[in-house]
């Protein structure tokens, strides 16, 4: 039988039971739509995490002192071994793969200005920090290395700090903030950066020259971490190696000894976060595919009923010369048509559902071509898989019995 005639016959017989066909199709429609919507949500969250991580600066490396071990008891990280200014200088001068670098200290401070107060983290860094973290300046300017040398009491504040102390949209430059009772002049406002991947507000920050914070506020001599950026993303491993070598040498550790510091790169965090969201996506998609599978069982069920109902028809067709494979193809095409049309409608519904989720829940949603192709192919495979058995059953009927069937 020619394919065109097969298709015509399939449309006719599906059209005979419109309600039944639609309900069977609905299983596939819902299955495909939910797979697409779930993949869209997963992909959307993955992309937004990746974007936020890129926002932090993808070439970013942070050197922390490691936890020391005393008689087998690990102490808190940084509790005995500290990084020093000399460590920083060695890293900054001897590592060609490092582009920007800064020592950092961090403390929390109570901020008071214009009758308002606010508690936040105060960072003491070199101006390079702004390059490492990709921070832009909205108003005013960044402090200079000269400010650092003189430990001048200037600072740059984030949008959140500005909002609570001076009011949103106000220009804070030139104003005075008392941080832990020390007056600082605000010389710049950082452009909004939003939340990071962990929901931390990156605009809730005060940045001051390194020396100012280390000497005036914290009165310590060590540095808490060294932040640096590799010359490019691909140079991250090389920069890591160089820094490790320099610091091991300075800490008098042999090449085989464990370092007493750790280097964390943004790539580690990025891959961990991406892996987490990939697992989530896979989980969502597999739950959704179960509904697609149930839809497939629905097809098989209805096709089996159809084969029984149409035993006579099968007998007539065989009587006039249909071979087993003609009958097989006829029923397979019907099953396939249900799953194909259901798949197409499901793709449409999935796109609409993703859009609705995006607008109502304001979740990041990304529909990829792959997810559409994948779920459509999956639904087709289900049509063939679950359509095969009923079709096989129809094809193996004996024409004599089928013709006599009441």
């Amino acid at each position: 039988m020619k394919l065109r005639n097969q298709l015509k016959a399939a449309i006719r017989s599906l059209g005979k039971n419109k309600m039944r066909t639609f309900l069977t199709m609905l299983g596939i429609i819902i299955g495909v739509a939910s797979v697409i919507a779930m993949l869209a949500i997963g992909q959307g969250s993955k992309e937004s995490i990746q974007k936020q991580i890129a926002n932090l600066g993808t070439n970013l490396l942070t050197v922390f002192p490691s936890a020391s071990m005393t008689g087998g008891v690990r102490m808190e990280a940084g509790s005995s071994v500290k990084l020093t200014m000399d460590d920083y200088k060695a890293v900054a001068s001897r590592c060609p793969a490092v582009l920007y670098s800064t020592p950092t200290v961090r403390t929390s401070g109570q901020l008071i200005a214009s009758g308002q107060n606010w508690r936040t983290t105060v960072w003491g860094v070199y101006p390079d920090y702004f390059n490492i973290r990709n921070l832009d300046i909205d108003k005013g300017a960044v402090f200079t290395l000269n400010d650092d040398r003189t430990a001048s009491k200037v600072c740059v504040i984030g949008q959140t700090v500005n909002k609570y102390l001076f009011g949103e949209g106000q220009d804070p430059t030139g104003r005075i903030i008392r941080i832990n009772k020390i007056p600082f002049q605000v010389i710049g406002l950082i452009a909004a950066k939003g939340q990071n991947a962990w929901g931390q507000d990156q605009d809730d920050i005060v940045i001051a020259p390194f020396n100012t914070v280390q000497v005036r506020m914290m009165t310590v001599t060590y540095i808490q971490s060294i932040m640096l950026s590799a010359t490019s993303e691909t140079m991250i491993p090389e920069a890591t190696d160089e820094v490790t070598q320099v610091l091991k040498e300075r800490h008098r550790l042999g090449p085989s000894e464990d370092p007493d510091f750790s280097i964390r790169s943004q790539a580690d965090i990025s891959s961990a976060a991406t892996a987490t969201s990939s697992i989530l996506t896979a989980l969502l998609a597999s739950i959704a595919s179960i509904s697609l599978l149930v839809g497939g069982i629905g097809i098989m069920n209805i096709m089996l009923v159809s084969v029984t109902e149409r035993t006579r028809e099968i007998g007539i067709r065989m009587g006039v010369g249909a071979r087993g494979r003609d009958v097989l193809l006829q029923f397979l095409i019907e099953a396939l048509m249900i799953s194909l049309i259901g798949g197409l409608l499901g793709v449409g519904l999935g796109i609409i559902a993703s859009g609705v989720i995006a607008s109502i829940m304001s979740w990041p949603v990304t529909i990829t071509v792959q997810s559409i192709v994948l779920s459509f192919l999956f639904s087709t495979a289900i049509g063939i898989f679950f359509g095969w058995y009923p079709a096989r059953k129809a094809a193996s009927l004996n024409p004599i019995d089928a013709l006599r069937y009441e």
Partner: protein, 235 residues
């Protein structure tokens, strides 16, 4: 019956010639149906051979049997066996659909010709449910002859029809037979058998009687004198 082995036919030797018009008679269980199934290539004999148009049917597989049915056999059933919700024309087209050598244009032409030869050209787009019993059976006959078969096999073609319609159907068979088509019908009714040229009676799986009808009745002339039934004509 299940697994019990029953020899529905035994020791049958019968020749059917081209342009024969044969009535197969006999009580139920006499082996008529098995004979028709084998003649129609729906079944193969466990022993012995069946030669159809110089082909040994017994040696063929299922697909080859289907092919043979498609090319050389036309079936007519007691209960018409038309596809419901499918127009008369498309019902007639059905055997040609399984013949890949026939183009869709040729398929339509031949089907319309077949419907014309049973006098139903004007009903080609009616559904079986919109046709009377006699008309449905005529569609079935058109379907049986659309593939130019070697033989038309009709299993009690008048069993569900009233007297006048039965005669109408027999007149069509007689007309086709005079055009050279071989027709074999199964019937209970001696009246119907009287329209054929040769009567074969089965009993317990054997041929009991096989004789030539000396003076077959002529359905076409009888129809002229028969009262017209309103039910048939007012549809």
């Amino acid at each position: 019956m299940g697994d019990l082995e029953v020899h529905a036919l035994r020791g049958i030797n019968m020749d059917v010639h081209k342009s024969d018009f044969i009535a197969i008679m006999g009580k139920s269980g006499s082996g008529k149906s098995t004979f028709m199934n084998i003649a129609g290539c729906l079944d193969v004999p466990t022993k012995g051979e069946y030669m159809l148009d110089n082909v040994d049917v017994g040696k063929l597989n299922k697909d080859q049997l289907a092919h043979l049915r498609n090319k050389k056999i036309g079936f007519v059933f007691q209960s018409f066996n038309l596809l419901s919700r499918t127009s008369a024309l498309e019902n007639v087209e059905l055997p040609l659909m399984y013949n890949s050598k026939v183009s869709s244009k040729e398929m339509k032409e031949r089907s319309i010709n077949a419907l014309e030869s049973v006098g139903l050209a004007d009903r080609s787009h009616h559904l079986p449910s919109q046709l009377s019993g006699g008309e449905q059976q005529r569609v079935a006959i058109a379907r049986a002859l659309v593939n130019n078969p070697v033989v038309i096999l009709a299993d009690e073609p008048t069993g569900n029809l009233d007297t006048r319609t039965s005669v109408e159907v027999m007149s069509i068979f007689q007309k086709l037979n005079t055009q050279g088509i071989t027709v074999i019908i199964v019937t209970h009714e001696p009246d119907i058998a009287a329209y054929t040229n040769r009567n074969v009676t089965f009993r317990d799986g054997r041929i009991q009687k096989d004789f030539i009808v000396e003076k077959p009745r002529n359905a076409a002339t009888e129809l002229l004198t028969m009262p017209v039934l309103t039910e048939e004509e007012t549809i």
